[in-house]
Structures are given as structure tokens and as C-alpha cells.
């Protein structure tokens, strides 16, 4: 792998840029791997990366039915924060947020992590109490967040109308170290590092079946032939139920569409991320100047990667009230992704009824922020059979009633 640096750019500039190599390989699948990961989204690639980096396991293939990063990883609005309520969530999301801080250096790939601050608005009395409670919980968990009053909200975000007629801004939960990153770059950076460790990232290779023998996994059937493995990681987000079905077990997951949209680029006007959970909308400004906007999920099961237009209308209507200056913005693009939602709105990182099969899913509307932490924990789970970070996220927690209830925090998609 050719290292990226200012020096490398200068050197290449002097010789017509002929020295750059492919960022990752395009190999044919081998007959057998120690570990197969299904899904080359951020979570799958990060799992492979930490299997190699932390455990020296590099005979690994990541199988992807489309192109790498083409699932939710390339479709999300890139909000990164760790201000969750429950301890197990705080542990894995804060681990993840801190790994984002050094990701560009670790991967030698600029993921444009921008800790610009995330503000969650309180617009009802209920939310005031909820966010103050979260701020206290975060203090105990060692996650730096703070309750702020309306005047400070206005100071941090001057374009906001804090005394809107219907839902005035009553304060907010402020996480100064939260922010955004370039989503594609996260997938590409991990793919490049995995490829460099000798792993095979195989695109256009859909897994169509899982083979087992006496309750142990033996391999997968794919559109590019059968491939054997000792361990299998299912990391396919919205397709989790579908792929689990191939191995003969069910998941407590429903797949629904979540949409986002971006506006035409405008001059810098907002240098933080704002989430308004009561009115169902959130917004940030990309480096190109586009306003990046998201809202809530559609209500019904859906695998089509497109949602209903009235949800877009709802989101935009809410944001126009809070940010009157965007009322005349033109929208450039709109898209959807299929998100995997669990009953307690927390992810599943778990062993499964099939020996050697592990599942990482249920990140739903908010797993971009979790990519490095999830990969770190999933790799440990797959390599050692247990991980302190994943213990509580076992798929059997629903039967035992040990929920990790983040449904309040996830009142709006994020």
C-alpha cells in the first residue's frame, strides 16, 4: 500500500500522478477462509479490520452483494455522538466516538472527522426532564455532555428561531465532542487497510445460503460459488432477518425505510449539528455547503430503499419552523436506506443458535457513529467468544427482559 502524505502528493504532482496504486484489491474468492464477514458496510469492514489489527486474524473475506459502502454506510447523515442513557450504550458509543478521533491517523485515510458539536433541542417539558437526566447519566458514565439554556442555544446557533410559535426551544443537550465524518471515506479507509493486511473484499458477491454440519457453520453459498469458513459474521443491517433466515434462526428485527435529503450548497451558516426530536428533524451543513437533513422512519416493513414522500414533507415542515432562513432553499437529492430496528432500539452483537455464526445488527437509524466501536467489539467477540462491550447486547436479552432501552434517545432517527 502506498502511504498517503503531503510528501507523496508533492512527489506525484511532479510525475503526472502515475505512481498511485489501487486503494484495495479486486480478488477472486478463494475456496476457504478462517473468517467470512457478510456485508461490506462500515460495521463489516471495521470488524474485519480489528480482527486483523487486534487479533492477527487476516485470512478473512468480506462478501458484499453490491459495492462496498453502498448500503446504509453510504446513505446516512453522518451524525456522531455518544450521549445515550444506558450504561452499555454509553460504553460502546463512547468507545466508538473516541476511535473516530484518531481514525484518520490510524487508517492513513482522511475521514474528515469534524467534532463540531451536537445539540439536541428540548422543545417540551418532558424533553427538558429527559435531557437533564441524560446529562446526569452521562456525567456518571464519563461522557462529556451538558444541559444548556435557551440563551446559550441561540449563541451557539444564531440562525435558529428559539421562540417558535408551537414548539419554542427550551434548552438543549450539548455534546461538544460530537460531530460528523465523511461516510464513504470511513468505508474506503477500512477497505484499504483490510486489503493491505491481505484480506479479500469481494464485491458483487451475494450470499444466498449458509451451510452447517451438526449445528456448526461450514460455509456460505454465494452468487460466485460456495466458500468454506470456520467462523461467519453477519453484518448486513436491514437484511439481517433475511440472512439469519438462511442459517435457520429468527431475529427480533423489523426493516423499515429511513430517508434523508440535501439542499443546494449555500454559504456557511451553521457550524454544529442540530437535532430536534419532538418535531422530528435534524440538520447539519456539509463542507460543500449543502444542508444535510433527516427525519423519521416510515412505519411499515420495506426493503425497497425508498420511502414515502409525506415523511420528507413532515421533516422539512418542522425544520422550516425552527430555521426560518431555510424556507426558500432548493433541495438537490433525496434517498432512502433500509434500517434494522429492534424492540428496545439497541443493537444486537451476539452469538447465535448456530455455532460459529455471529450477528451484528439492529443499529437501526443510528449506527454510523458506532462503526469503529462496533468493529472493535465484534472482532473481540468473534476472536475470543466474548467481549465486555457486547455482553449486554446479546440477542437473548429480549427473552430475559434485559432491555437496553434507548427508545427515548432514538425518538427521532439519527
Amino acid at each position: 500500500m502506498k502511504r498517503y502524505s503531503a510528501f507523496a502528493i508533492a512527489k506525484e504532482a511532479l510525475r503526472q500522478h502515475v505512481g498511485w496504486t489501487r486503494a484495495w484489491g479486486n480478488p477472486e474468492p478463494k475456496k476457504r477462509y478462517d473468517v467470512i464477514i457478510i456485508g461490506a458496510g462500515g460495521h463489516g469492514l471495521a470488524t474485519a479490520y480489528f480482527l486483523g489489527k487486534n487479533f492477527g486474524i487476516t485470512n478473512v473475506a468480506v462478501l458484499e452483494k453490491g459495492w462496498l459502502g453502498g448500503g446504509n454506510t453510504g446513505r446516512n447523515t453522518t451524525i456522531i455522538r455518544s450521549n445515550y442513557l444506558q450504561d452499555p450504550s454509553a460504553a460502546i458509543y463512547e468507545k466508538s466516538r473516541s476511535l473516530y478521533e484518531t481514525m484518520s491517523q490510524d487508517l492513513n485515510y482522511n475521514v474528515m472527522f469534524s467534532p463540531r458539536g451536537v445539540l439536541m433541542l428540548a422543545q417540551t417539558q418532558h424533553e427538558i426532564r429527559g435531557y437533564k437526566r441524560t446529562a446526569h447519566a452521562n456525567a456518571l458514565q464519563g461522557v462529556e455532555t451538558r444541559w444548556i439554556e435557551p440563551a446559550e442555544v441561540k449563541e451557539i446557533c444564531p440562525i435558529m428561531n428559539i421562540d417558535g410559535p408551537r414548539y419554542p426551544v427550551l434548552g438543549g443537550l450539548w455534546q461538544a465532542r460530537g460531530g460528523t465524518a465523511r461516510h464513504d471515506a470511513v468505508a474506503w479507509g477500512y477497505a484499504r487497510a483490510c486489503s493491505d493486511m491481505g484480506m479479500d473484499i469481494i464485491q458483487q458477491c451475494e450470499v444466498t445460503g449458509v451451510t452447517t454440519s451438526a449445528g456448526n457453520v461450514t460455509g456460505v453459498n454465494t452468487t460466485r460459488g460456495d466458500i468454506a469458513c470456520d467462523k461467519l459474521g453477519m453484518v448486513v443491517a436491514g437484511h439481517a432477518s433475511h440472512v439469519a433466515n438462511m442459517a435457520g434462526f429468527q431475529l427480533p428485527i423489523e426493516s423499515v425505510a429511513l430517508q434523508a435529503l440535501v439542499s443546494e450548497p449555500i454559504k456557511p451558516c451553521m457550524d454544529i449539528v442540530v437535532m430536534a426530536n419532538t418535531v422530528h428533524g435534524y440538520m447539519s451543513q456539509s463542507d460543500k455547503g449543502e444542508m444535510v437533513i433527516g427525519g423519521g422512519t416510515d412505519g411499515y416493513n420495506n426493503y425497497t430503499q425508498r420511502g414515502s414522500f409525506h415523511h420528507i414533507e413532515e421533516t422539512v415542515r418542522a425544520l422550516v419552523e425552527t430555521f426560518p432562513m431555510i424556507a426558500r432553499l432548493k433541495m438537490l437529492r433525496q434517498w432512502g436506506g433500509i434500517v434494522d430496528v429492534t424492540g428496545d432500539r439497541s443493537p444486537i452483537l451476539s452469538k447465535t443458535p448456530v455455532e460459529g455464526v455471529f450477528v451484528n445488527c439492529g443499529w437501526g437509524t443510528g449506527g454510523f457513529k458506532a462503526i469503529p466501536g462496533s468493529g472493535w467489539a465484534m472482532a473481540e467477540l468473534m476472536a475470543k467468544g466474548h467481549s465486555p462491550l457486547t455482553e449486554e447486547f446479546d440477542m437473548n436479552r429480549f427473552g430475559r427482559g434485559k432491555f437496553i432501552d434507548e427508545s427515548v434517545a432514538a425518538g427521532v432517527a439519527h
Partner: protein, 109 residues
């Protein structure tokens, strides 16, 4: 926009007037059942990429529940039927079989 025929009031209804109620034909388990049965009823879902039987509430209309058979991969609606039905009616199942040979749903096919 999804349009579903409400069998209660006999109208074609836009999804903005409806509320999705999740998987249909769940077998309810209560006191005296095993933990596994209770978990299955409360949390485990078919969530298929394909034929889905589901509940809908005609919220801004007659206010009643009905059931629908729909494909989650294409959003094609195969038919709707009254909520007082324990299994998808035969005519709807036949229609699905014609369009999606080999479909399954739990023990049904």
C-alpha cells in the same frame, strides 16, 4: 404513496390516512406460557424480504383495523381483508402463489 383498500368502509385509502400496525396473525401468549413463547410473540418477527402479512389502522377514516398482504420488495399489494381473520384467506394466498411461486410465511405457503 401506498394505497390500500379498507374492507371496513370500502374505500381506497392513502397511507397518510393509515397507521401501520406491524406483523399480522401473531399468536398471543400470556400468563402460563413459556419465556420463549412470550419472547416470540412480543419480539420475534418474520420481517421477510417478500410477502408480508400486516395490520393497518384506518386512523383518519373509519378508525378500524384491517389486514393486508403486501410485498416488501416491490410494495405490491396482493389484497386486504378483515381483521377478524385468523389466516390469510385462500383467494389471496392463491393470488400470491401465482405471482410469487414458492413464497412461505411460518407454516403457510
Amino acid at each position: 404513496m401506498l394505497t390500500l383498500y379498507c374492507p371496513c368502509c370500502g374505500e381506497d385509502v392513502d397511507e397518510t390516512d393509515l397507521h401501520a400496525g406491524g406483523e399480522a396473525h401473531l399468536k398471543r401468549f400470556g400468563p402460563g406460557s413459556s419465556d420463549e413463547e412470550f419472547e416470540g410473540y412480543l419480539f420475534m418477527r418474520e420481517n421477510p424480504k417478500g410477502v408480508h402479512f400486516e395490520r393497518w389502522h384506518h386512523t383518519y377514516g373509519c378508525g378500524k383495523w384491517f389486514l393486508a398482504a403486501r410485498c416488501t420488495q416491490t410494495l405490491e399489494v396482493f389484497g386486504t381483508y378483515p381483521a377478524q381473520t385468523l389466516e390469510p384467506p385462500k383467494d389471496i394466498r392463491d393470488k400470491i402463489t401465482k405471482k410469487r411461486p414458492g413464497w412461505t410465511w411460518g407454516a403457510l405457503s
